[in-house]
Amino acid sequence: MRTTTDAKIAVFCYGNPAREDDGLGPELARRLEGLSLPQVTVESDYQLMVEDAALISESALVVFVDAALAGEEPFSFRQLAERPEAGYMSHSIDPDRLLGLTRETFGRCPPAYALAIRGYSFEMFKEGLTDRASSNLTEALSYLVGFLRTEGAEQHHILRRGTAGAGERASGGLK
């Protein structure tokens, strides 16, 4: 994991690599880390956790990357909204609730997006991506890198101009 003081974009990739295509998130993290994009911090874990709120609160932009059981192929990319609700008993937390928790706890929350990469098989204790999921991953990574490079440059520009603090940039649509 790479953490730099100038990293302003946080990418949270999550999933269980031992459940076939559920490992899409961690695999994307592995490839993304290899690219060493400036201003980008990559986190990889089984699931989102409440402590992720700390890094989110310090970021200007956040992207969550997960496998999707259903939905559009090869991936979907959407802006998320904060959801100020608590779950019943979960030791993990959904992206929207995590954003709500971040806002409630730290008083700020950056714009956030969800990259949902379509997977097809989620068998327990079976490693490796299916061919179709692997293909979707390639396309999703390519799209994400373009997005991060664009957004990363914009964040850098904004920070240098001092027109908006990290995490307070008004969120527009997608580029």
């Binding site: 269980n16 409440v50 700390a54 559009e72 959407r78 979960s90 327990m124 799209y143 997608l174």
Partner: protein
């Protein structure tokens, strides 16, 4: 692909979400309409033991982390301890053992902190009969913002320790058969040490919250999900609280020792597992007492009950306060788990601070080995209770058999008893009221069950409570998301 929809839409991951499993409670009534039995179900199936068969033994400490995204470190260390036996590493180099201990204390600290601040503190700060609309973590954040930040940062601190000792959060590789694959660098140590004092102080504050709640409500709690039970945990050779390596101690509800300082390699001679046709989770029991009387509690309360003392000053003072309040002898209140859990959090914080100042962590002697064996057993106290790993390895270094008894499985009967006790008190008529649902939830939460681990699968955790009449016809059902 879709990239233009500005509307919020959830990522679809539910069927493979990675937490505790689906909690389902069945309440069976007798002919008089009284609760005859409570069954806490899990709906997934076991399969992990088969998954590791045929895999090289040295992969086990990494593979087993896939059991559970909640406490992978516990499985990592239990498997590593079992593999120490396989490679004949009976005594690890000090650096290796202390790095593993640091990892384990970090796991305890983050796991207990998360449970307390984000799952339990709403019950304790607002009362568990308070309006669910405010009795949640958001309510805590709004009313106690400093506490909420502490909860997040304590959790983060524990995770940083795991990262520094296990190498990474997903599939950490720190512990290997016979030792550890890295020491703690000076920069890593200094990074963690700068917050160590603060973590001890925050943990003391959490103990105070749990203590104040318990003392203030002791009369109510004395009849809430309480029942006498045996208690099981590891203890150190001198009787101290011990969560990484020790002998097994079991005491009965009065504190009388059933067995003591049992070498955990002998655990199959002392413990057995009962299968019941309605549950995928087994029901462990002490062989000498049989399944009817031999079931036991594990976890924070059992550990605090079983040990003679705690070898860190702040936690020991807290332990003494605990027994001064609840009375001498084993405490059998389910809700006292929360106070015990915070005493252990304080213990972990003190141990972390102590270890970070130990120069052995910068040692370079990391691995040892000895005479090869075919059977490896590793036992550890996971945050939720005693965790057993058993493996057999053939001459080709492949695992040919495995059996795991996880913490929540050890607490299986206790959770059922707690639910039955609550239902027996609260059920009136043939309807599941919000109050009953709420109390069932609070009782289960005291045990911090991790069903993904216990069932070796993943799933979400809505709580479903079903009520059956004496002919086992479903008469009511309620679900809490």
């Amino acid at each position: 692909m879709a990239t233009e929809s500005p509307a919020y839409k959830r990522v679809i991951i539910e069927p493979v979400t990675r937490v505790e499993g689906h909690g389902k409670v069945s309440l069976l009534l007798d002919e008089a309409g009284k609760v005859k039995q409570a069954r806490f179900h899990v709906v997934e199936f076991r399969g992990f033991e088969r998954f590791v068969q045929g895999r090289p033994f040295w992969e086990a400490p990494v593979l087993v982390q896939r059991l559970c995204g909640i406490c992978p470190v516990s499985h990592h260390l239990a498997a590593a301890k079992a593999m120490d036996r396989i490679v004949g590493a009976d005594t690890l180099p000090p650096t290796a053992e202390k790095m593993r201990r640091l990892m384990h204390y970090g796991q305890f600290f983050q796991s207990h902190s998360l449970h307390f601040f984000h799952l339990v503190s709403p019950d304790l700060l607002f009362g568990f009969d308070a309006d669910p609309a405010i009795r949640n973590v958001v309510g805590v954040i709004r009313k106690h913002p400093d506490l909420a930040v502490q909860g997040v940062m304590m959790r983060k601190f524990g995770q940083e320790i795991i990262k520094a000792t296990a190498g990474k959060k997903v599939h950490g590789t720190g512990a290997i058969p016979g030792g550890i694959n890295k020491n703690l660098s000076i920069p890593e140590r200094d990074f963690l040490l700068k917050d160590a004092d603060k973590m001890v102080e925050w943990a003391k504050g959490a103990v105070e919250i749990a203590k104040n709640y318990t003392v203030e409500h002791i009369k109510t709690l004395a009849s809430f999900a309480d029942f006498p039970s045996n208690h099981l945990s590891l203890v150190r050779s001198d009787g101290a609280l011990e969560i990484y390596h020790g002998g097994l101690r079991a005491i009965d509800a009065d504190g009388k020792k059933i067995f003591d300082h049992v070498d955990y390699l002998q655990f199959p001679e002392y413990l057995a597992e009962e299968v019941r046709n309605w549950s995928y989770m087994k029901f462990p029991f002490i062989r000498s007492l049989g399944p009817e009387k031999g079931w036991y509690r594990v976890g924070p309360l059992a550990r605090i009950n079983a040990c003679d003392f705690i070898d860190t000053p702040e936690a020991e003072a807290a332990r003494k306060e605990f027994f001064a309040a609840v009375g001498d002898g084993p405490c059998n209140l389910s809700m006292a788990y929360h106070w015990a859990r915070m005493i252990e959090t304080l213990y972990a914080a003190e141990k972390i601070r102590e270890l970070l100042n130990d120069p052995d962590l910068q040692g370079t002697d990391l691995v040892t080995k000895g005479e090869r064996r075919r059977v490896g057993i590793g036992v550890i106290e996971a945050p939720r209770g005693t965790l057993f790993h058993y493996y057999e390895v053939d001459d080709n270094d492949l695992i040919v058999a495995a059996n795991l008894i996880v913490s929540t499985t050890n607490n299986n009967e206790s959770i059922n008893r707690a639910v039955a006790r609550v239902a027996d008190t609260d059920l009136s008529g043939q309807k599941i009221t919000e109050g009953l649902l709420n109390h069932v939830e609070v009782a289960i939460r005291a045990y911090d069950p991790c069903l993904s681990c216990a069932t070796h699968a993943m799933g979400q955790m809505p709580l479903s409570v079903e009520l059956y009449d004496h002919e086992e016809h479903l008469i009511d059902r309620k679900i809490k998301d």
